[in-house]
């Protein structure tokens, strides 16, 4: 980038007058050049106190027990079927809802790119709005739609399509999670489809490839980094989700986030350091997923 090369002498414009005559513009002393850093201070302070410090507290206290460094909390988590279940449940919901959300969003976005611009803009605007429809209000809307006496539940029952759809179960949570993954996935994928050129489709057709082959051999490989990246964000989004599950089930579904919150703000007994250890494992999981994604994207030929 060119502006990086220019930056070293830029502050001199501000400090020295422009018409210095024969003398080259005087360079301000080092401390003067660092003076603007002071403006970063308030921002840095608040960010450090309310974003970095809590993470640091979690990282340190996960390894503390009874005032000493110890791995006791991790041993407790690894030896407990209850916490195992919370991780498997979280991963299970995150994986399937991300996959379903990504599939629906890919189909939807591909179709969206082929309809007129006005409809495209309207649908993107609506998608942005529904991406903010999450958490507690979303859980309530799903109770109205798919709860015990929900309109859709009754309709499905009358049609004999779903005798016992239960919103308050794994299946119900999967539907709920998939719902909030779709708008996010559409918004993330939409710009990526710019990479697909219309003439490729025509070229593929001329060479005798049908739509299916065009998608398998041309479009999906080109889109694969975007699809992978979106999948990872969806996974992280679902793994960290808490509000909608909590609003729907209170604590009756064993998820990592529900367990963490219960350990710091529950009704029975509080174990913040155990919560820290769980949090650290959750963050390690997110990091691992991101690292795998980076590796896959780097290997993909079509970046």
């Amino acid at each position: 980038m060119t502006d990086l090369a220019l930056t070293t002498d830029r502050p001199s414009h501000t400090a020295a007058p422009v018409n210095t005559g024969t003398l080259p513009a005087a360079r301000p002393s080092p401390w003067r050049r660092r003076l603007p850093l002071l403006l970063l201070l308030p921002f840095g302070l608040v960010f450090a106190l309310f974003q970095l410090a809590p993470i640091a507290w979690v990282a340190i206290n996960a390894f503390q027990a009874g005032g000493d460094w110890s791995l006791a909390h991790f041993r407790e988590i690894l030896g407990s079927p209850w916490y195992h279940q919370s991780f498997t449940n979280s991963l299970d919901l995150a994986f399937w809802s991300s996959l379903a959300g990504l599939a629906i969003a890919t189909l939807g976005t591909a179709a969206l790119r082929r309809v007129p611009g006005r409809l495209q803009n309207a649908v993107v605007a609506f998608t942005t709005m529904s991406s903010n429809f999450s958490g507690v209000p979303l859980a309530f809307a799903f109770i109205v739609l798919l709860g015990m006496n929900g309109a859709l539940t009754l309709l499905l029952q009358q049609l004999g399509l779903a005798e016992q759809f239960n919103l308050y179960s794994r299946g119900g949570l999967l539907v709920l999670y998939t719902y909030f993954q779709v708008p996010l996935a559409v918004l993330l994928l939409y710009p990526a489809f710019d990479a697909l050129r219309d003439d490729w489709r025509d070229a593929a057709a001329l060479l005798g490839a049908g739509p299916v082959r065009y998608w398998l051999r041309v479009a999906l490989p080109v889109l694969s980094p975007a699809l992978l990246g979106t999948f990872i964000i969806l996974l992280a989004n679902a793994l960290g989700a808490y509000a909608s599950t909590y609003a729907l089930m209170t604590s009756n579904y064993n998820l990592v986030t529900i367990q963490i919150a219960g350990l710091v703000a529950g009704d029975i007994f509080l174990e913040p350091q155990l919560a820290a250890a769980l949090s650290l494992l959750l963050m390690a999981l997110l990091l691992l997923v991101t690292a795998v994604n980076q590796w896959l994207v780097a290997r993909s030929r079509h970046v």
């Binding site: 830029r10 403006l39 970063l40 974003q51 779709v182 703000a265």
Partner: protein, 260 residues
């Protein structure tokens, strides 16, 4: 471009129907006089909205949410604008670090942050837990990805160094140049980011519930506490909330398309 095939239109409309279904049903439910164990509602009435918008506790919670979000966004503006300017104008090498840091609020789930926040600010020199202040400060960090990304994109687009050099040549000091030249160029992007961040923060539940709860009841916490009351009443609440954030998002998108 080839003409849009019917299948594409159908797929798009299916997507819209899927996304709209919970919202549409909630709207119908909030307007129905009663809706027993049947598929269609009986009667039409605005009584649930009337009940909601005269409910003191709801109005108070709504006001508190508004207050916290606006305070957080003001703080965010005051802190981010100078920081962003300093990074982009004086220390562009810090851009990489900033890009990484502002992603943290997205990458670290709020449940995880709240574990540390609860321990750090429950007592000690900053006893903020249970007060609205901790929400304002945490919402500042949550708004960062929106605010920073939008402003950074705009700053890249306006070519800050040239703009500043031109202003300096015409005799403006750095502060004046920033306020009179750079800021007006960022206006639409800034407003759009503010509206988007607002609709996001207005729906925040985790920090509000874990860090403050009923001691300063925000809209989401109130909403949660009403989960056992009439479905019509909560539907009216959900719809009022959705219309409110829907409007904010819509304004944000309008501003965005105008600045593009």
């Amino acid at each position: 471009m080839s003409k849009p095939p019917l299948s594409a239109r159908l797929t798009v409309w299916t997507l819209v129907v899927l996304l709209a279904a919970p919202i549409a049903i909630t709207l119908a439910y909030s307007l129905a006089e009663s809706w027993g164990a049947r598929i269609l509602p009986q009667g039409f009435s605005l009584e649930w909205y009337a009940k909601l918008w005269t409910d003191q506790r709801f109005l108070a919670a709504f006001g508190r949410s508004l207050l916290v979000c606006l305070a957080a966004l003001t703080l965010s503006l005051v802190l981010i604008l100078p920081a962003l300017f300093v990074v982009f104008y004086y220390f562009p090498k810090l851009k990489g670090l900033m890009n990484l840091l502002v992603l943290l609020p997205f990458a670290v789930p709020p449940v995880v942050s709240s574990v540390g926040l609860l321990q750090l600010y429950a007592g000690g020199p900053l006893p903020l837990v249970g007060t609205p202040w901790i929400l304002v400060l945490c919402y500042f960090t949550l708004s960062l990805p929106f605010m920073y990304r939008a402003l950074a994109n705009n700053l890249e687009a306006v070519n800050l160094p040239d703009l500043m050099d031109a202003a300096h040549l015409l005799g403006a000091g750095t502060t004046r140049a920033f306020l009179r030249v750079v800021l007006p160029n960022l206006r639409n992007g800034l407003l759009s980011a503010l509206f988007l961040a607002f609709s996001f923060l207005f729906g925040e539940f985790v920090f509000a519930n874990l860090l403050v709860g009923t001691r300063f009841e925000t809209l989401q916490v109130y909403l949660y506490s009403q989960r056992t009351t009439s479905g019509h009443f909560t539907s009216a609440m959900v719809m009022s909330y959705f219309l409110f954030i829907g409007l904010a998002t819509w304004v944000a998108l309008r501003l965005q398309s105008r600045s593009a």
